[in-house]
Subunit: 322 residues, 2 copies
């Protein structure tokens, strides 16, 4: 669940006095998300989300995240809009934590992915990439290629407890990715955590994307690779080529992929699988005692990595390589 910090009504009222949001009618902690504490606020002017940033979010990154949401919203992309206080600040402090209020985004995230979801995801992702292209700030991907070896070093041979031979497999794959990692692809702001729980729909229609707290500057096609893993496999880890084809088609309606991006996709997909395999392994072995968060099974991402390792080209994702 996602309320690590309790907020008193007195201190919340005092915090809200700095904003033009009207009178506080209700606030309730939300049992979703794993990194920060989130509250749904209702005032007589509408609904808002209050986020208290906990220790896994670095305070120095917050101006990038909030600035990005400001930028995307100004470009008309449906995302939470940071609410600025009377002094113009999007970032404040509440209950000893950095805190921000954003507009409430309507929508429901899909628990069971259907093809119409991935088609619209692809199109929305491309629109987000286009809207973010003119954003002036940069932020390195601190969970990118350069971070994978140090992460693996902290996991080490314990990986074999999850699946026999896993440590050796990761070592070989990291060597291969280091040697073959694509360079010079079109780059800009990516969300970098575009899992189903961050993408909202109303009925069967895309309504917006939330949670920009992993956003960074990286290859656009790497975002597609992350989504290939997160949206186009079934619960048994079988690959659904229809969902993938529709996702790519939706994306390319807005922004056609370059030849170099198509050629890089299987490697990017292996890298994207490696990133989540490693962070899930790390979280598995560093699960805090009594944590109110369910651990995610790393083997899901091992299966996805193996799938991509066996492919000759992006044609296996349903793409027409011409």
């Amino acid at each position: 669940m996602a309320v690590y910090t309790e907020v008193g009504d007195d201190e919340l009222e005092a915090f809200l006095a700095g904003y033009d949001l009207g009178r506080l009618m209700s606030y309730k902690g939300i049992a979703e998300g794993v990194e920060n504490s989130n509250f749904l606020l209702q005032t007589d002017t509408g609904s808002y989300i209050l986020t208290l940033y906990e220790k896994r979010t670095r305070p120095e990154d917050l101006p990038f995240f909030l600035g990005l949401m400001d930028h995307l919203a100004a470009k008309g992309f449906p995302c939470p809009t940071p609410i600025h206080d009377r002094a113009g600040r999007a970032l404040g402090r509440l209950a000893g934590r950095p805190a921000a209020i954003v507009s409430f985004l309507n929508g429901v995230w899909p628990r069971r992915i259907q093809s119409f979801h991935t088609a619209q995801l692809g199109e929305a992702m491309a629109r987000m990439h286009q809207a973010g292209a003119s954003f002036g700030q940069r932020r390195a991907n601190d969970l990118g290629l350069a971070r994978w070896r140090p992460l693996f070093a902290e996991i080490g041979q314990r990986a074999d407890g999850i699946a026999p031979g896993l440590a050796a497999l990761i070592g070989r794959e990291l060597d291969a990715l280091d040697a073959e990692w694509p360079q010079g692809l079109p780059t800009g702001v990516i969300h970098a955590d575009l899992f189903p729980d961050n993408v909202f729909f109303i009925g069967e229609k895309f309504s917006g994307i939330i949670d920009y707290y992993f956003a960074c500057t990286d290859a656009y096609a790497y975002e597609l690779a992350i989504c290939l893993n997160a949206w186009c496999f079934e619960a048994d880890c079988s690959f659904n080529i229809t969902k993938a084809r529709l996702m790519f088609a939706g994306y390319q309606k807005v922004r056609p992929l370059e030849e170099a991006e198509l050629a890089a996709l299987t490697r990017l997909a292996r890298g994207a699988a490696m990133r989540f395999l490693l962070t899930r392994l790390y979280d598995w072995f560093n699960h805090p005692e009594g944590a109110q968060v369910t651990r995610k099974d790393p083997r899901e991402y091992l299966a996805k990595l193996r799938f991509h390792q066996g492919l000759a080209s992006a044609a296996s994702y349903g793409l027409d390589l011409g």
Copy 2:
């Protein structure tokens, strides 16, 4: 936290199709409450609370609880109103659980109690008692006097691990309460769990009472005794006579207490302290492994019990006994 059961978007949409609530715009699990799973729903007609009843709520009691909320709301008392489906039912089934939707009640529960809270609590409580007087159903208090000995039997000598001599103290006090428990007091529907987190305010004004899942037929003055313990002691367990006096004054503006009720108050307050001392002890020793609920310290209620044991009359609560 309070989401024990996950609800899929598909099954929620199917469930909502039986109601006239409009289109689902959002639903989020709420990290409050300890007994049931609660979700805040937003549709294009407004905000609602969806509750899935978990195993500690007995399904056979649900018609009483929901019927009571229907009755109080119809009498104009501010409480969540059960939403009936197109077939007229307030109680449905979702994700394998009994489930109900109620209207969303605006307000914030007070984290730090001030005197104006207890004054309004008293008045609201009396109005609730009056509004409930014409409710046709009855439900015995299954956490009343008759249940305390069996509860204590399940705790036994382990109580001494919480405070030396506690088991003997409880045994003696149960003997005394059995001998002296007041009979024949004015009786009707009481909430029976009127703690601050169930009473809402907007700014400094009372806005409503939620969570009727302990409601039962019992002495009205016993409700006042529960609130005396829950609202009129400071964090260090010192008694705040100003808060108590204002609570009783607020109550008596609407419903003056009878002489027998005034005479019974210290015994009722001891009983109310015993009830929460015993359930907190029980929960302390029966805390499920990995439960996402914080245990409450039973010693708080031991201190309150001892306070009431030392009193000669309800004059110590700031009441004028004439």
